[in-house]
Symmetry: C2
Subunit: 339 residues, 2 copies
DNA sequence: TATATTTGCTTAATCGATTAAGCAAATATA
DNA sequence: TATATTTGCTTAATCGATTAAGCAAATATA
């Protein structure tokens, strides 16, 4: 069934004995079309179940009303929630989003960008893969003349709008919280400094220690990929230290969970012997025992503001892009692992 | 920068003093174009950084090479992995995917379908929201003349291809496993019977009990929404029974985790006193203690086969759709909670 | 009443890529 | 050598929707 052709403006025009141009204008409530004609057009459009051909209008107008989104993965609560809110804002403005996953791979990220540019998106919103160091594929987006917006994971060098949380400040909040609980030797299992957000977390951690007159001990500052396995391995290393830390701030919930497993296995009492703080507020942090203190990243706001930033660009003709950071404050969620 | 217009076929044609038609054919390696011309065209195309205008070719060819995908949520490991594999297969065949989330909402699902149809997708791949009972919006897809493929959560009534795991058989495997471990009173915290997959799991559970000559006890069969909270509440109810079960088969990992929390809080030894099995192989099942025995759903295969099924439809001109189920066997992953 | 303005449409071109039809030159075959 | 076929392109139409330009009729203004 249903192999009949789609209804076009021309079909409506023929039925009403007017020109397709008049039909197009009537559908868009042009002031130069009589109310009578408009009503007739809309009635017939409904009768024939007219669906505008988006491709044709996009081609003519030079806008596809599609926005490409690149995320490392969708299966984290953070990204999934960002996407949901981003989509809702963009849909209201008549844009649809094409979601792609880089799986933290540089190569996949390059491919995704090619794909999105090929699909003629009106803009790209991206959060960088961990692997990515070379930024030339992102420059390609800019030289294509469409807006590029980064969120959560960006790079200053790109000189585009960025929306994220205040990583530097988050580390302060975490350290202050642990100091308040009486901790004096706070370790940090962090990401690699070359990634902006992890560098900021490390800087925040160091500066917060200084502010509280605590000594900086390089053996307590660890860089890793922050997987669950990394968390396990680094926690084991920390436990072997002669002078064990009394708190560990881990820059990712997954690594924090790995650390917690090792602590539990070694019968180290959390939070009594060692307090633990993660980052990201992944759902499982509230599910394990003890539940893990962590930082919520305002995914809803990030999604919404990122979308609004794109719309702001899209409404302007000049595509002057510049570094424009919107930094949100993160929120500490205190749970059993640091109480 | 970069406000210069995009390169078109015409630009290449002008530079080489040939017609745009020849350029188009050269780019597509038409056999009627000389090798010399092809080489020249490709060289100039590269020089001018030519990117074909996808909208124009889609309009002309009547194909957008876009596939719409609707999932309840992307933030589960299962859906995220399905999407990843689906995308990879479709990309290779020249299709891009537009991912949308229904958030388990019927209304959002309807909106997503409208959006995708408006975007002129060549087909829709969907997994139904829990809320959905009325199927008329799915019928709309079919009457649009584009293929509809369902996976994981479908309905026989739709009469379209369906790819999923063997829920009925999965329940058998789980029950057999528990019986083997000596369990005699196996409870089932399941989903609502109106959802096909949950109904199948319940039927499988009941039939497997019969097969093993175990009595069917209605107080041990519970229907719920299978959230973590549901798991907690229903486990509490089961613990209040005079005659407690010695095993609980929960039809979702989240609810299984809720059940596990209650068991741990009540100092019930898992697996000694009560064995526990979940469903879905969410990452956290291997992370909690004790780790939860669960069922893996072959997300990779489902993604791949779903994509291939679509491609199969797309390559044919006639859009005869019929109920065609591809059922994969699930795999039991035995962990500490049932050892 | 004569001119200016507004209303309500039509005509024709356009967005780029594609393709059916066709033509001239080159090559193959009788 | 004469005809048939192949090669290598061009011409022109097309996919639908949109829009600048413009025209005739209706209405407003002088």
């Amino acid at each position: 069934m249903a192999n009949k052709k789609r209804t076009t403006l021309k079909d409506i025009a023929n039925k009403l004995n007017i020109s397709p141009a008049a039909v197009s204008k009537a559908m868009h409530d042009d002031s130069r079309i009589s109310i009578k004609t408009k009503e007739a057009v809309k009635r017939v459009a409904k009768e024939l179940n007219y669906q505008p051909n988006h491709l044709a209008s996009a081609l003519r107008k030079g806008k596809s009303h599609l926005v490409g989104v690149i995320v490392p993965r969708t299966n984290s609560n953070f990204f999934s929630s960002v996407l949901e809110n981003m989509e809702s804002v963009l849909n209201k403005a008549g844009y649809n989003i094409i979601i792609t996953q880089s799986n933290e791979s540089f190569e996949k990220e390059c491919k995704n960008i090619d794909t999105l540019l090929f699909t003629q998106v009106d803009g790209i919103i991206a959060s960088m893969a961990n692997e990515t160091v070379d930024l030339s594929h992102y420059e390609k987006i800019k030289s294509n003349g469409i807006p590029l917006i980064m969120f959560d994971r960006g790079e200053n060098d790109l000189n585009v709008d960025y929306i994220g949380i205040n990583d530097y400040e988050s580390s302060h909040i975490i350290v202050e919280h642990l100091v308040e609980k009486g901790c004096k030797r706070i370790a940090h299992i962090g990401g690699y400094r070359r990634t902006r957000i992890f560098n900021n977390r490390i800087r925040g951690y160091v500066d917060a220690l200084k502010k509280n007159n605590l000594p900086i001990d390089d053996s307590l500052i660890i860089e890793s990929s922050l997987t669950l396995e990394d968390g396990r391995r680094e926690m084991e290393r920390l436990l072997e230290l002669k002078d064990r830390p009394d708190a560990v701030y881990v820059a990712s919930d997954y690594a924090a969970l790995g650390a917690l497993q090792v602590l539990n296995e070694n019968k180290v009492n959390v939070p009594k012997d060692i307090r633990l703080v993660g980052f990201g507020n992944e759902p499982f942090t509230s599910l394990v025992s003890p539940s893990i203190t962590t930082v919520a990243q305002h995914s809803k706001d990030i999604g919404r503001i990122t979308a609004e930033t794109f719309l702001n660009h899209a409404s302007k003709d000049d595509i002057k892009q510049s570094l424009n950071k919107i930094i949100l404050d993160a929120e500490l969620i205190v749970r059993d692992s640091s109480k």
